[in-house]
Subunit: 205 residues, 4 copies
């Protein structure tokens, strides 16, 4: 009867349900903390029945996992896009793009990141020391190394160093209250990042 395209799932697109649930969970986790949020509150906020939650997630930890995955993917997509726009050999540009895009992504979801990566019991040993974002930064740093843009002994070490530094400064309460603050923050990050890669190396002294 409806003019909807055929193949439309019977009741509600599962993706929509899943998304609603994740959105409610995110909002509540952020507002009251993970432990203080009950499944019932999540489903209630999503306008779904309690049982439906288990049609889409197997447990509270499972939503968290989904939130984590989505968070990383979104930031990463943005980063890759911006970094890709830079010239083939513009490694300083790439690094700056990485830092700024990552920071910008965080500024819109810093607390969420803290929540899913730091505040929640780290599912594996991953989190702030090993994840897709760090991998991507490592690649940029290694690329700059190969093209003599800078000379880092251990790009992976520096990646962890910078990633955590960025995470820390962006995560500061009210750090980007207005556009001016925000611009300043991004410039500060950029400068600190450059400072690190441009550090005068004194190996073996």
């Amino acid at each position: 009867m409806p003019s909807k395209a055929a193949g439309q799932p019977r009741t509600k697109p599962a993706e929509k349900r899943r998304h609603d649930l994740m959105k409610s969970a995110e909002r509540l986790f952020l507002k009251k903390g993970i432990d203080q949020t009950t499944i019932e509150e999540i489903t209630h906020a999503a306008g779904v029945s309690k049982g439906s939650f288990y049609l889409h997630f197997s447990s509270k930890a499972d939503v968290l996992e989904a939130l984590r995955a989505r968070f990383v993917q979104e930031i990463l997509d943005g980063i890759l896009e911006e970094v890709g726009k830079k010239g083939e050999h513009d490694w300083h540009g790439k690094l700056t793009a990485w830092a700024k895009t990552c920071a910008a992504g965080y500024l819109g979801a810093a607390r969420l990141h803290h929540l899913v990566f730091a505040s929640a019991p780290p599912p594996t040993r991953e989190g702030l020391t090993r994840n897709a974002l760090i991998d991507s930064l490592t690649e940029v740093l290694a690329g700059g190394n190969r093209h003599k843009a800078w000379f880092l002994d251990e790009p992976s070490f520096t990646a962890v160093f910078l990633f955590n530094a960025l995470h820390g400064v962006v995560n500061q309460e009210g750090i980007a209250g207005n556009d001016g603050d925000r611009r300043k923050l991004l410039r500060n990050i950029e400068e600190h990042f450059q400072g690190v890669v441009l550090q005068p190396r004194s190996h073996g002294l």
Copy 2:
């Protein structure tokens, strides 16, 4: 009454109890996570009765708070001592001392730090963006500024940046497996710290 050395002022058994409980709590929190650790397990491991726990702490969050305070105090004591040994105007030396002592302190308790500062819901305003350690680092950076050892626009920003960077690299699993790794890690940290404070301030001027 007992035959113990007479006159001996009963060596604060309360302190001992408190200490035992904190030790057990720390061990268990680290091993199984905070939520997964019950008061009963803590008291059992400490060889105390469940009720006694409440003679020394008001809640589980309270032990965490105590753990946090003790952790900061100990690291801080070490840092201040080392930094104090440096010459009045040796700011690079002070910064390096800060970084190395802090890192060294972490290496012995990185996971504990992560636990009490990042993994547990920040009880007060402390955490990875504002705490006594960052304050102390800010002082060193501001001092260097005042004495022209370096020129940082915002020492507090840089302090948060470096503190988190350090926290991140030190928190890596197996990062300091042997003495060689450890030395290398400390030198890497030192160099990165120096890179940051020595960054050429020219971008965007």
Copy 3:
């Protein structure tokens, strides 16, 4: 519409469904217990959708009821046929036929019987003390009484006695592992049945 043999009266697909469902239910009830078996498992095993279950049965208890009814009917049919073959007055023959046929029927479905009659909360008044099988045995015993084949004070008491005895011995794990065991079991049952009806009625007279 389909190319199936035209005119063929669509062979009651409903009966087939019902049968499939009962078969799955029986298998699962036996394997995991009634409570531990979910409707979903039953329908899944039967290759039917969950909703379809309710097209054929009104509840889990309903399948059980159907299983029970079918079980009794099948055993009873077999018993009546065998008992009917015996001569009009061959009461010992009838009793033996009853015992052997009933036992044989059980041996193929002892656990099912236990499940539907003993393990599940007796839905109606049936069970191990009153059911169609016992009624049929009571008739045989009363018949033997009337024709002086034996002299039982209370055929109905003896029927319950024998029925439960038979149920118990047949229900033993691995009691009829091979044909030899099986033959021996049936002979044992026969002898014990005869012993009961032939008991010298003299005690306490």
Copy 4:
């Protein structure tokens, strides 16, 4: 202060609590069925808090297990006492004592027995085909065999046979409404037991 003997448990004798819980559980299981009885109802009926239940039992199945064990032990104790009173070689007397005591024990708790042995998911393969009561009956039957009181091919088979027969007749609703019925029932059981052991053997015919 109280004159109670020292060593008295602080609050309430654990045994008492456990007993109260078992009593409530038994009553409720019998009245509403096992599945239909919630832990909360049990504790409420016992005048204990819900949590206390888990201080004494690990689950609902655990109480059932305890009920089972206690039931068997009590019946068994009674049986052994009565059987022991009989003369060394009075095997018919022993068998009759066994049957009567067991039946009498059941009459006081037949439904409980049915509940814990038949109605509840048999924990192991035990229950009506293998348990301490059957073992004890087997011993009596084997003893009579050895002393030529009777000649049974397989005492263990006969024990299962008789045990189930007894269980069945005793388990009949309203079978022992008054003393007359009861006496009659016991005599019937006795006679049927004797009939079985005295059956004329026709081995190998």
